[in-house]
């Protein structure tokens, strides 16, 4: 597999075309990863040259959809980092239980595995009926998948282990029906979910939440864009609400940090002002 190294100017040109033609702004995405994704797409779709990729994107709106889906990373799993879900289950969600309606935002939810994980925890805490889970992503195709709640069956062994490690005590298989190679999750979980496209780069706050989860999304943004997103979260979070980030992400360097307190040593922060 020969891959020619894309030059910085070529990436910049491509991103400019994407922005001018479709309005998607990837200019503040972390460059090294983005470059790898574009190179990977060129290999996958067998583009003989950069010029041909550029032409295809400019002239074919359907291909643009594929471009967005492939250069954004949609890798996710259920109960990812089980100890985070344990803290949510044992400490955070019980604090939110007093609210008449618990509003949760999964920002950049990809195919939705973490939204379903949250719904399961809420159900076990008997809170699901009074919760609303807003699940958003830049990419409408992954949201369609999330809505269906159908995940590969061969992942269930890993997910079951994660679930147990996160403090789950039920039989995990009660939550889905196995059918050929897929596991279809119970519609009672989906009933409290609202799916919508939302671009963290350009879209504004759309509601107030008590809990925002945005895990392994910000690593793909540069510092300026991270700061904008933190502002957006700050504007979308009620006082005493919580923000949950990925294992390698932190609120520490953001200007909003003064209004927040970290929850023990977890990647969880509580709004204190």
């Amino acid at each position: 597999m020969e891959t020619r190294l894309l030059r910085e100017e070529e990436i910049t040109l491509l991103l400019q075309e994407v922005y001018d033609t479709y309005g998607y702004d990837f200019s503040n995405y972390a460059r090294a990863s983005l470059k790898r994704r574009i190179t990977r797409l060129m290999v996958l779709d067998r583009f003989p040259s950069f010029a041909e990729l550029l032409y295809k994107i400019k002239s074919d709106a359907d291909y643009m959809k594929r471009f967005v889906e492939e250069i954004t990373v949609n890798v996710t799993e259920m109960f990812r980092d089980p100890e985070v879900y344990k803290t949510l289950r044992q400490e955070i969600l019980p604090l939110l239980a007093t609210y008449p309606l618990i509003r949760i935002w999964h920002a950049g939810c990809a195919t939705g595995e973490e939204v379903y994980s949250m719904a399961i925890v809420l159900k076990e805490l008997n809170l699901l009926h009074k919760s609303l889970l807003y699940a958003t992503d830049i990419n409408p195709d992954v949201l369609e998948k999330a809505k269906r709640g159908i995940f590969p069956l061969n992942q269930m062994k890993q997910y079951t282990e994660n679930y147990i490690q996160s403090g789950g005590k039920e039989a995990f298989s009660n939550y889905y029906a196995a059918n050929y190679e897929y596991a279809k999750f119970d519609v009672s979980l989906t009933s409290r979910m609202i799916f919508a496209t939302h671009n963290l780069v350009s879209d504004k706050s759309f509601n107030e939440f008590q809990l925002i989860l945005c895990r392994n999304v910000l690593i793909y943004f540069d510092k300026d864009l991270q700061e904008n997103v933190f502002q957006l979260f700050d504007n979308s979070l009620e006082g005493l609400g919580f923000v949950v980030l990925g294992a390698k992400e932190t609120l520490r360097f953001s200007s909003i940090i003064k209004g927040y307190k970290q929850w023990n040593k977890e990647k969880i922060w509580r709004k204190i002002s």
Binding site: M1, L5, A30, A32, S33, V73, I219, Y220, G246, A247
Partner: protein, 198 residues
């Protein structure tokens, strides 16, 4: 004032980088080689080891005990500083950005691995070009070879552990079948070679 600030920042950025990639059979090599590195070495070191995704930061602690150099697990957007040793975190690819900061990526596994050695070698080569040396150690898969090709293209140096002495020879063997290494190193020689990088 602005200028002075830039100067200070410049001094905090590594000019020279060594990336070490290893899989099965390479942890013990590192535990023997790292204690022999001189403490004033300016070259920064990134270590990419295949390990279980459940593994936590204890690896950094393990290395810390073994060397006088500062060892830490890499953080996202962290600047690569001279003399530091950074470990790729479990379950993320570790990339190097143009401004010599580190970046994380949790995209698909490459060569069944995350972190993948290829990913770090390739992105480091783009940025550090001929100021880069990559060392590939023992391992049972073919990770590293593609990355070393890029390192050569960009003018960096390639060192490979001698497969005859590697605990698992597949990874260095595969690399040597494809690219011409600048040095094929027995474990005993590694520390001396690294100490001469500055």
């Amino acid at each position: 004032m602005e200028q002075r600030k830039n100067l200070e920042e410049d001094q905090l950025v590594a000019k020279q980088l060594l990336v070490i990639g290893g899989s099965a059979g390479s942890l013990d090599v590192l535990l023997r080689v790292l204690p022999r590195l001189k403490s004033k070495l300016q070259t920064a070191i990134l270590i990419v080891l295949h390990r279980k995704s459940s593994a936590q930061t204890s690896l950094a602690d393990l290395f810390c005990v073994k060397t006088k150099r500062k060892v830490k697990e890499a953080d996202d957007k962290e600047c690569i500083q001279p003399g530091m040793i950074y470990l790729a975190p479990a379950d993320y690819h570790l990339l190097v950005e143009q401004d010599k900061t580190l970046a994380m990526d949790d995209s698909e596994k490459v060569n069944y691995s995350r972190p993948s050695i290829d990913v770090t070698f390739e992105t480091a080569a783009d940025v550090f070009t001929n100021k880069l040396t990559c060392l590939l150690l023992s391992g049972a898969n073919n990770d590293g070879t593609e990355g070393l090709k890029r390192v050569k293209e960009m003018g960096g140096k390639v060192w490979v552990q001698d497969p005859r002495n590697a605990e698992v020879s597949q990874m260095p063997k595969n690399a040597l079948a494809t690219i011409e290494a600048d040095a094929i190193l027995e474990e005993d020689k590694m520390a001396d070679f690294i100490n001469l990088l500055d």
